[in-house]
Symmetry: C2
Subunit: 336 residues, 2 copies
């Protein structure tokens, strides 16, 4: 049995779902993997850098009670020194342009001897090589499964199950907000009603224009290309077109034919090793597996040298699914 000290960096919807999931899976983690855990630190912009070196009472923490805090730090370095985490679980919000301050935080966590596990795709797109190198030097893991397809294994799939394979290209439906908006318009509702429907489902980025204008999908394409194709694709390299220009009549006619529009993300390696990537609305063939992706579901289709096609679909993932992506990363980081 090994006792692990966890620090939560960010404690919004995903962070809180993750804390609940650790509680729910306590017995299984102990029995299957010999894992005991405690939450030694929690940090958010609102709460500051909180530590409880004996471990927080999680139900109290989830209820907003931080009276058990044994120390408040002034910055992440002091916080890490106090909490001595084995793993830092990072769920702060996305900075599309720079990935900061999350990258600096994760660097500090690695230097303090923690595995780093993140749901924040900005850290992968803007800090991947750097964080991998630091993690390797420290003998720790940098894992980020929840960044693209929530809990559906994509990065671990390639890392752990597909040795000596070459990824030639991929396509995907990576953004649920646009999917929900398009389906709302297909059934006669307005764009604004579609945005509200997505917000009610809790799937939109803090600023919905990150979804609608294709930024979320663009950052995901870059994350996959960087990790799985070793291609230093930046968001500005992706030909990006959002869904604002789509016409209701066109969408309804396309759906009527069984050939719906989706915001589709694509990347492809050319023979010379260069990569081209797009995020744009596309009308899909009825036989395209991506055409069956409905509502908040997500999917990616890989073209590999060893397989004509491999599709992974995550059906209507929920907050717990996203949290599970982080929990799985944690177990995979520490399991023997």
């Amino acid at each position: 049995m090994t006792q692990y000290r966890l620090c939560f960096l960010g404690f919004g919807n995903v962070g809180r779902a993750l804390a609940r999931l650790f509680v729910a899976k306590t017995a299984e983690l102990r029995e299957l993997y010999g894992i005991e855990w405690q939450i030694a630190g929690v940090a958010t912009r609102r709460l500051g850098w909180l530590a409880n070196t004996a471990g927080f009472d999680v139900p109290a923490l989830l209820a907003g009670d931080t009276t058990a805090t044994t120390s408040r730090s002034n910055d992440i370095h002091e916080w890490l020194a106090k909490t001595q985490p084995d793993a830092v679980l990072e769920t702060t919000s996305l900075n599309v342009e720079t990935g900061q301050p999350a990258i600096d935080y994760l660097q500090a966590a690695l230097q303090a001897g923690a595995h780093i596990i993140t749901a924040n795709k900005g850290t992968v797109v803007h800090g991947y090589e750097e964080l991998c190198a630091l993690a390797q030097a420290a003998g720790k893991r940098f894992l980020h499964e929840a960044t693209v397809l929530d809990s559906a294994p994509v990065f671990s799939l390639f890392r752990e199950t597909l040795p000596a394979v070459k990824l030639r290209g991929f396509s995907g439906v990576f953004n649920s907000t646009t999917n929900v908006i398009i389906e709302a318009i297909e059934t006669g509702r307005t764009f604004a009603e579609g945005v509200r429907a997505a917000q009610e489902l809790g799937v939109t980025e803090t600023d919905p224009s990150n979804d609608v204008d294709g930024w979320d999908a663009t950052v995901k394409v870059c994350a996959l290309a960087r990790v799985l194709m070793k291609a230093p694709l930046k968001p500005s390299d992706v030909r990006r077109e959002g869904i604002r220009g789509l016409d209701g009549g066109t969408l309804r006619a396309a759906r009527g034919e069984g050939r719906p529009y989706k915001l589709v993300a694509r990347a492809r390696l050319a023979a010379n090793g260069s990569i081209s990537a797009t995020v744009q609305p596309e009308q899909l063939a009825a036989t395209d597996p991506l055409a069956s992706v409905r509502g908040t579901s997500l999917a990616v289709h890989f073209e590999l040298d060893m397989m004509p096609g491999l599709t992974i679909m995550s059906h209507r993932p929920n907050l717990q699914s996203t949290a599970y992506g982080l929990l799985a990363d944690f177990v995979n980081a520490v399991k023997k």
Copy 2:
């Protein structure tokens, strides 16, 4: 760099594709995993138990030239003693009822100190617990990724990427022959023409009634249930109905509505831990991802406690894809 001695048990289409794949991936295996390999033994019913302790010349072997054979053994024990394999790659044909003689062969291989890797689902359905226990005692691996969805990761997906998850049920299109036959009938051809089309694609079992009457899918359901749900499901426990009773008019009307019939395999755990499983023709909803599985493609949809649904689809896998399932198992067995 480590040198591995391989023995091929069965050298039909899949075994030969695997030998070609080892040749094609030689440089990558060396560079990425420090793996050097040689084929020390090949055995088939026709050839007998052949060994070349210095390693066969693979192109010659593929061309049918076995003159380099340095010894011919009388049985598997003598053959294993001569060849001293690090891994035995088994691709002999399926025995639905007992899994024999493959299970006995794999036991002998484990006792001789080899990892065992198989494309033969009979060994999983009839010998899983026994082979796992022997493998664990020997400190070796028993891997069988290619048995259900060809190269698409299913067993390694759960083993390596989805810790502490509970599988509640699954459904799948596991048999390409019946898919090809149904699609032939949908386009106005006869059942017999459909069987021939599948045979020309090289996807049928040696006896096509294994496909048509649902045995192939049934054995795959049992393999998945045994490994992923720890449920000792036997082929005779599965409610099985093949596709012979399907009427052409019904199939064409269903396809016209976009709600096609498929031979669908299902298994589900009840609250009391009992498992129920079926293999039968089902008309699928247009929105069911399994409805988009065409031709020789295969798919499985998992229902997990941590995710509402996770679908894996393998698109038109070919012989090389199946061979890759075995190669991946080999690398995963020996990689550090």
